[in-house]
Each structure stands twice: as structure tokens, then as C-alpha cells.
């Protein structure tokens, strides 16, 4: 039994035992490093190899894209990452599930601020559509090949990407009619 085992009481140690690590299979094909911190399989991939790794993971049985989100590491550009991974401002994090193997894997890819573009997973996992739109809306990370990369939660004419760390809380006046702004 792989994957999550949280909230378990003492004595439960059924974590990654006996499960083939997907990182080992894919070494070299764009995977820079893999780690198993907190009993979760994490793969760090290059931006160029991102789509290839996902294709091989999909073929390797990870048939569902459970989650995709972005993180803005503006205040932690010097964070500790495994050997060989160059830290960039943005990170796109993909969580995959293998229904047959009861296993999860997380793929992290570094996305530079100057060129925030990664390949879209839409043609691989159509279910990633909304999640990529959300990441675009909230962080301004663009997904190349996405059929409809528009804002999903914010109004279409909104300026800025709210979850970025340099987008402070309360900066934008709440849009109530005729109400004075907070400043």
C-alpha cells in the first residue's frame, strides 16, 4: 500500500514498502532528482523533460491527474532543493494517482519568472483543464497547448495574479458600487 497514510495511529508503517519507485524507472528521462520525504514520492523534472516524464508516467499506470497547482517561491529563491535542481520563482506541482497500483506520485517542475511557460497536460489528462486554468489565473503561469487558457475564478478583465506573493492582501479595492476603497 503506497501513498498517504496520514492521521494514522502509532504502529502503522505501511508506507512505500514494496512499491516500485517511479523515479528509479525514469532516471535520465528528464527526471533530475527524486525524494521520498514524508513518505511521498516526489520527482523533480526539467521544464523540457516535463511532458516526456508525464507521458512515461501515464504509460506506467498513473492514469489520473489528481491535482495540479502552482507555488510562488518569491521569498524563498534560495530554498533547499535536491542536487541538480535550479530553484526558480514558480513551481508547478502535479499529483498523479495510479488507480490500479494504489500509488501516488508528485511531479515538481521549476518555472522561471522571466518566461513562465510550461507544456499543458490537457492532451494527456483532459481533467487537468480546470486546474491549469486556475494556475494561470492565480499565478500567470502559461500552459502551452491548453485549448482555453482564460481566467477561471477572477473576472476576465482582472489585472494581476492574486496568489503571487507580490500581490498583497487588500491592495485592490473591493468592487462594490459607489463604496469608497480601503485607501
Amino acid at each position: 500500500m503506497g501513498g498517504t497514510a496520514f492521521g494514522r495511529t502509532p504502529g502503522d508503517t505501511a508506507l512505500m514498502g514494496g512499491v516500485v519507485s517511479p523515479g528509479a524507472e525514469l532516471a535520465g528521462a528528464g527526471v533530475i532528482a527524486s525524494s521520498g520525504a514524508l513518505s511521498q514520492e516526489v520527482l523533480h523534472v526539467t521544464r523540457e523533460g516535463y511532458l516526456n516524464v508525464l507521458v512515461s508516467l501515464r504509460e506506467g499506470g498513473f492514469d489520473m491527474c489528481a491535482d495540479l497547482c502552482a507555488v510562488d517561491y518569491l521569498r524563498h529563491l534560495d530554498r533547499a532543493l535536491p542536487e541538480g535542481v535550479v530553484a526558480e520563482r514558480f513551481e508547478v506541482v502535479v499529483n498523479l494517482v495510479s488507480i490500479a497500483r494504489h500509488q501516488r506520485v508528485r511531479v515538481r517542475v521549476q518555472v522561471p519568472e522571466s518566461d513562465p511557460v510550461v507544456s499543458s497536460l490537457f492532451h494527456l489528462y483532459p481533467g487537468s483543464e480546470n486546474m491549469e486554468r486556475e494556475a494561470f489565473d492565480m499565478y500567470g503561469v502559461r500552459f502551452e497547448g491548453h485549448p482555453d487558457l482564460t481566467r477561471i475564478l477572477m473576472p476576465d478583465d482582472w489585472e494581476g495574479h492574486p496568489l503571487r506573493k507580490d500581490y498583497s492582501v487588500g491592495r485592490v479595492p473591493v468592487q462594490f458600487k459607489e463604496a469608497p476603497g480601503p485607501r
Binding site: 492521521g7 514524508l38 489528481a66 491535482d67 490537457f122 489528462y125 483532459p126
Partner: protein
Amino acid sequence: MTDEELIAETSEGPQELQDLDDTSPEELAIEQGSAMRLPEGLVLDPGDIDVEFGSDETMIINMGPQHPSTHGVLRIMLELEGETVMRSKPIIGYLHTGMEKTGEQLTYVQGATNVTRMDYLSPLHNELVYSLAVEALLGIEIPRRATWIRMLMTELNRIASHVMWMATNGMDLASTSMMIYGFRDREMILSFFEKTTGLRMNHDYIRPGGVAADLPDGWEDDVTAIIDTIPGRVDEYDGMLTGQPIFKQRTEGVGIISPELAIAMSATGPILRASGVAWDLRRDMPYLAYDEVDFDVIVGTVGDTYDRYAVRLNEIRESCKIVRQCIDKMPLGDYRAQDKKVTPPPRARIDESMEALIHHFKIFTRGFEVPDGEVYVAIESPRGELGCYMVSDGSNKPYRMHIRGPSFVNLQTLPPLLRGGLIADAIAVISSVDPVMGEVDR
């Protein structure tokens, strides 16, 4: 300058609307918003229904955001040919309040109060996934009693949520008695929640480190009364709806989704199980103590609206089974971890010890620091996989708190579910997806 010359100079050619056939697909995409496209590839098989793409007969209408059967502020753009739905697109964001951003401003102690407002029909699941993520980063173990209390409460919440779904679904399909009954049953569970947590909803009961308070005296009787009543009532609804011809005609064969498509679209929960995939995180990736209780994973065969109804109906019975086992097996002990770092001192200590008072004050003002790291935790909420991706930078607030809302992802299945059906069926289908807009928009 004569009129003719003026016209010739300013003319942009004939202004009549051309046939849509004359427009190139790329232009059409811009004109209608590529939004109105169906997902391609695996999802789109033009052969399965007759989609007349260039026909001028189609009409685009908006359903919602104020439509009563969209369960909140969901707006759906529908392309209709006569009464048949061709393409559609859910448009969301009307309830967006930036809860992920808010989560980054609140300490770990305050965070549960924030997330509990996302999926307002199953608030305890939100608190649970948040607390599990914080605890995973902290690396603390919680006492067995807290684990079992969490299980008891979330299963009761699952019953309340499914009963509530039965009620609203009944209302959408014109069974108003079901609505009254559903709300009546939900109220029973909410009264128990009020007794235990102090509030009917938005409890902030499950917190990092355990739960806020022990179960009240006599909780066994209250819970037994609930689970003695609910199965009988469920049988009643079963008799009232399951075999009823009108209900069957409105749901059977409506909004079918195949297992392959459901997996590709990342659908989870009753939608995925109704299509025939036995995937339930409680059984397949057990958290809390779900590997110590006995229950069945309910699976459908066809994947239509009727199956999704049947899956939810029977999941109420399974949850009753789990709750009964929770009563029998409820261990004694602490209801929260006795870890000085995250647990405030007992109330009585505050009166006699200055240090305890300071400690209490520090925990509720500054909170506690959580070690560096990132973690993804997922649980099975009534709507599917509820995940929390949390990044900590060692401070007292999460650096990033992302909630994977099952409704948000499940909503993507609407276009393929609605396609080819009648607009009246759209009501039944939207209801069967069970979106909670608070969680969709967050």
C-alpha cells in the same frame, strides 16, 4: 461626396450574417470563445452523437447563475439545437473569495476556521484534510480517541451531506416531499453537531493536534438514535423514489459517463464509482482508522444519473455501518495530542499558573511554527477526493495552502454528461454531479 461614394468608402462589405459554415473553425473559436468547445482527444468522439457544427439552428443560452437548480451561483453556457444540448461550458468564479490567499495570512491555528467554509455541506472534511496536512508536516501523532472521533464525525457529516443531496435532487426532479424529508434528517445530525461543537456548520472542531473538545456526555445515545432512524428513513426514500416510474424516466440513461472518461476527466467520488470504478480513498489509501472498520464500496454499472443516485443512497447505509462501529470501538483516552507545542494547556491550569496563561496566549496569538516541507494529503469527502497541498517555510503560517476541491474538478464532467441530452435532463445531471459552489470557487 455623394452618398454612393461615402458608402463605398466606408463600406465593410455586405453586413448580413454569413452561414456559420463559411467561417473557418479558428475564427469560429474566437467568435464563440474557444470556451464553447468540448474537450478534444479522448473526450470527443464526433461519431457518438450527431453534432451539426456549422448549423445556424443552434442557439446559445445562459443557464444561471441565478437559476434555482444550479445549486448556487453556477452559470452554464448551453448550445442548444431545439431542445437538445450540444456543447456546454460551466462558468464559475461568482463565489470566489480568495480563501487560498486568506489561508496564507492566517496562522495554522486559525486556518481550520477558514477552510471549513469552503464545502459548506461537509465542513468537517475540510477541517480534517487541513489538520492532516499540518500534522504530517509537524510529524506529530494524534491519540487513538481523536482519530476515532474524527472518523465518527466525518461519517455523520457524510450522511448529512448525502441526505442534503437527496433533498435538493428531489427538489430538482419535482419530488418536494423528498426535500422536506431530507432537510428533516439532516437537521437531526446537525443538532448533534451543535451539541458537540457548538455550531451547526463551520465548526472548527477538527484542529491540528486532535479535536477541539471531547464528545458530550451521552453521545452514544444521541448517535445511536441517529443511526437507528436513518436506515429506516433511507428505506422509505428507497421505496418512494427508486422504483418510481417518473423518477426512473428522468434519471435512467441520462448523463452517462464511461469509466475511462471519468478517470481521464479526474472525476472522483460518486461520479467515478457510479461509472463502475471501485475507487474510494477510505478503502484504497486508508487514512485515520478506516482500515479497522468494515464497510463496502458502492459501485454502479452504467454511470448514469440513476446510478449516481443509487451510489449516494447506499453510501448513507455504509456510513451508518461505520458510525455504528465507531460507537462500539471508540477508545478511551485523550481527544487531542499532548504536545505542548500545538496543544493549549487545560482550562483549569490557566487559573493557577502564569506560565499556562502565557502558553495559552502564545498559541492563540502567535500560533506554532511548522517545519519546512511540502505535503499532499487526500481524503474521501462526500464529493470525491479532497486534497490539501501545503508548503511550509518554517513560520507560523502556511507558505502555500492549496485545496483540491472535488466539486471544482468534477464540474469538468458536465460538458460530456450534458451533450446530446435534453435541456430538461440538464437539471437532473447538474444535480447528480452535486457541485458545492463554495468549494468550486473557494
